[in-house]
Symmetry: C2
Subunit: 718 residues, 2 copies
Amino acid sequence: MYVSLSFDYGIIALAGASVALLYALYLVTYLRRQDPGNEKMMSIATAVRQGANAFLSREYRVIAPIAVIITILIYVFIDLPLKTGGVTAIGFAIGAGLSATAGYIGMAITVRTSSRTAQAARKGLGSALTLAFRGGGVMGMAVVGFGLFGLSVFYLAFEKTIVSTPAVVAGLGFGASLIAMFMRVSGGIYTKAADVGADLVGKTEAGIPEDDPRNPAVIADNVGDNVGDCAGMGADVYESFVVTAIAALILGALITSTPPTNLLSLISSNELLVFPLLLGVAGIIGSIIGGLYIRKSIKKNPMGALNVALIIAAAIALIIDFGFSHVLFGNNKLGYYLLGSCVVGLVVVVVIERVADYFTSYLYKPVRGIAESSQTGPATNFLAGFSTGLESTAPSAVVLVVAILVSYYLGYYGSGSNVLMGVYSTAIATMSMLSMTGVVMSIDSFGPITDNANGIVEMAGLESGVREVTDELDAVGNTTKATTKAFAIMSAALAAVSIFEAFQNEVNKQIVLHNLFSKYGLPANGTLTFVLTDPLVIVGLFIGSLLPFFFSSFLIQAVQRAAFKMVKEVRRQFKEIPGIMDGTGKPDYAKCVDISTQAAIRELAKPAALAIITPLAVGFILGPLALGGLLIGSVVSGVYLAFMMTNGGAAWDNAKKYIELGNLGGKGSEVHKAAVMGDTVGDPFKDTAGPAINSLIKVLNTISIVFVSAIVLYALIA
Amino acid sequence: MYVSLSFDYGIIALAGASVALLYALYLVTYLRRQDPGNEKMMSIATAVRQGANAFLSREYRVIAPIAVIITILIYVFIDLPLKTGGVTAIGFAIGAGLSATAGYIGMAITVRTSSRTAQAARKGLGSALTLAFRGGGVMGMAVVGFGLFGLSVFYLAFEKTIVSTPAVVAGLGFGASLIAMFMRVSGGIYTKAADVGADLVGKTEAGIPEDDPRNPAVIADNVGDNVGDCAGMGADVYESFVVTAIAALILGALITSTPPTNLLSLISSNELLVFPLLLGVAGIIGSIIGGLYIRKSIKKNPMGALNVALIIAAAIALIIDFGFSHVLFGNNKLGYYLLGSCVVGLVVVVVIERVADYFTSYLYKPVRGIAESSQTGPATNFLAGFSTGLESTAPSAVVLVVAILVSYYLGYYGSGSNVLMGVYSTAIATMSMLSMTGVVMSIDSFGPITDNANGIVEMAGLESGVREVTDELDAVGNTTKATTKAFAIMSAALAAVSIFEAFQNEVNKQIVLHNLFSKYGLPANGTLTFVLTDPLVIVGLFIGSLLPFFFSSFLIQAVQRAAFKMVKEVRRQFKEIPGIMDGTGKPDYAKCVDISTQAAIRELAKPAALAIITPLAVGFILGPLALGGLLIGSVVSGVYLAFMMTNGGAAWDNAKKYIELGNLGGKGSEVHKAAVMGDTVGDPFKDTAGPAINSLIKVLNTISIVFVSAIVLYALIA
């Protein structure tokens, strides 16, 4: 049934990946040519870079042996029995390696760009904006470049294996998501232990401003921004990109291996496999061109400029998508319907950004409501922020539900009522969404770069006008950080829906392969279906839905424990080091960096074990039905818990900023103190637990697909 | 197929209900004979009673027209087309009426018992304990009495209609759950608006103790305890009891109407319908006997005594269960297997109580951890309480999952692999759990009664030894309130699983009845199954899972808005009424009562509309598949959100109490202030949003079953 396309479009995907990587390289050389600032600024940047490097290399040393063991396990238990020649294990290793690389690059660039951005801020808003945006661009291009590179190389090398055994491609996704989860969790704990610890003593007790060099936790805090917001976010979005592409690849392969008769003329080859990869190429070109809009001549409204860049990128990507779909599908209506799904994906990017913006920007009612609630103290501030987070789940849910239904029915009707094509079409919408990663990440990384620049401006004691520039960019960064998280959560939810279909297909494939019909109580050639009336499916849903709640409890407690230690240490230094408050004594920064580093590594064990062991235990003990329930259950509750935490957290943060602008009593008032408390609570919500739920969902999905063959064979309860 | 039993055991159920109601009446006369205390105590109790009465009558005046309209709608759109002679509408009216009555009685008794308990506390712990317990007993017996009364009358009157059209019985459940939701929501908003408002200004700003008569919100606070904790909880547990019995009845009727061949000799009649009702009878007798253990001679460890009473009640109920099962099922193994499910239900009551106790009592690590986190201020206190709530979901989930699996497989294997009997068996386990309602409610109502008694002791300025007695009982009450909520949540989750099976059966019955196979894309005589790969089911799950999050945001915001008004009013009174702080000026209590009352009524609209309109809109627009997904989705996320909020809230409360015992600096310290903040945040979690999620889940389930016939016929998207 399957023949190769006369020209393999996988080559175009590889070329697109190379363009992204070369553009990233160009940006790096551009950035290195910029003025890194005076000696003091450079020395601060160096201290931060060394802290971040030390942490990352220590973390990689912990992760590497785990990754090696898992690679071997996959080879022995999956590749050998399936006779795939080690493709899954290789995929896992590539996925994990590229994920770690993307994270490292993200961090390496931001630590180098921050002092340059601080220096550029002395020249004006446009210069700083352009520099921060281009710094973020390195990360964005590295993420899509490595993502698409891994995917297309893997695709070109193992094309036939993928079509015959689609699950092998999941190894790549599992590698990416496992590393991303590690980095998200440990980076999230690191950054918030430092941030919360620094704020609790510095701002609340000692009354010194943020990033004040007298605060012993200030370097740890800045290192945290890099390892959490940059390395963590980079690995996270890289993972989203890869996992979504894989969902589309698996579904495409499933349809290609037994194409529906009415589409036989069309799906004669691997069109459905290359299309998602080509969407990535379109997104890269769109992102590069859109990014050019950000120039030094911009004088005001940085948020507006970033939005224009995003819309240009989306429009160009859509035009190129149209070209690719025409080449692959000609004038067949399927092509146009799938193009409709591309539009759905791009619209989702814009709409979900508006939703996140509404709930997290101080221009609107929700954040102002939180600020007003601070007038009656921290308790009402907590309740207001929490309920704002809860409320934000509803419009996000509407976007999600509409996107699923519209994209599904586009594929379904476009293919003459083929169910798999419906789900494939949802995967295409998600891929179209994620093709915007390049520009979205540029906009996002912006946040931590300016945050760090801000820190350097403060610590190096630069002139006051500079701080105003970096402050304005930092506020914009707060919003873009929130909207990117919404982007990542939404794509995770959509990808999970597609992956579940692939999972169900793999389960039944294995049942047929090993003739397990009687084990699963099926008639000959019957299909195992995941019905809501089956107690195993229900139990799976309950277990899956539990995981984001339980997982979050670990993370919040970890931050708390670490922050508690940090607070004690900072208090001790304030008490024991003479002259620390008048600037004559030097705080022991290294000790605080050490506390964060140790905590981040140690606290990784429990949540990581939960994410890896639960799906395997449920699969091997309760069987594939319960595991399927678990996968859906985890998305269904996880997506809202994640939205609640990331939107709520950003809303608290900006409520504080709103008061700091002089509203409701302004900085230093009781109202402000209450708002600082809310911000402290929101920190682990928005930067540790919330975004980590994303990675959790994806790890659960990819590990299940990788191990599906073994699970179906060895499940105790069928 | 169906013949009546030679002797109708429904009579025994009716007799059991009468016993419960007569015992409640006996307790009332006993309580009225007790000394109501001195004039000052009586005048306070009267003020509270009047406030509570005023609120409840106002609420009922709002609810009554809504109930009438819904009754008419049900009659026109359900009973007329189904030709049931108005059974569903009658059921709705009975369910709603009895729910309102149970709530009223619960409140009427507690307001009368509190001053008597305060007076009894002067004689010692045993006297106060016995009185509070018996006061709670009136509520417990009224709840099961009315519940079983409605069910057995309905059963005896409409036996044949129930077997032919099981969905009619859902009217009774919908009536019960709608009123319960109204009372839970408005009672919850009332009580916490008053409580939070009183605490924020009284404790935190003015530094006066709880229940201090100088606080203008103190009467509103005490009224709130009655309308929230008593009337709300009474209606809630009444609803759980009725809805669970209905799930068992519907499943029993489904099996009875087409009994499996291997059980034909056994299920020749209505055994499966009367069995759940008889379990209720066994529970009533067990509860009465177990309750006798609580005597005036008890000198210490009230919690231990209450636990013994519970275990006696469970043991006696189980013995009687055995008798009933033997009479109905003889020596058939099905009887023994179902008895096994009864044991599962009783074990769940005990285990879930232990879990809730562990996470909410200051004897254990979690609460002490929260107390210690208060050392670094409100923010870390808040994070610790929140993560404790999140953590508590895991053991609760294990209990839930094990209970579902064990009870299901007991019924499944006991009946020779009948799927419906598996689900019926889960319903039996739930019913066995809820048969403990009499004693559980006695133990629970205890809490608000002693809370109120405490208030009266404080306001009437009784001697200090008395306060110690009521304080000790109050602390026990805090724990029992938390364990009862866990009991209610767990039963709601289990009942929802059973109801879903009934829902799915009704959907397919309607498809057959109206020959809608082609509308739903089914082959002739095909079955509509709720598969996780169907996008409508997935979308339904996402919408369902959203509801508890969104619903909670309304409730927390409502409390916040109302508390904000209360704070402003209390501050105003402190400023404007001369001599209020030295006791020479009298605060304007009525104004605060009025703020709570108005807020509670007004804020009811949004959450109520969400709970009623969403399932109908999803059902009629997206069809039964999406609605089925919605039902499961709402339980799957709702159960954990509810556990998180109720356990977290109680943990914050007891962390504060732990500090008040003199730990970590004790009362008045900075640590204590932080803990008071946490308690304030926990208040709407544990007493407004958390318990209301229960009612939400049950309203969604019952409304869907009531309207299933119309939805299947008129759904736009099939």
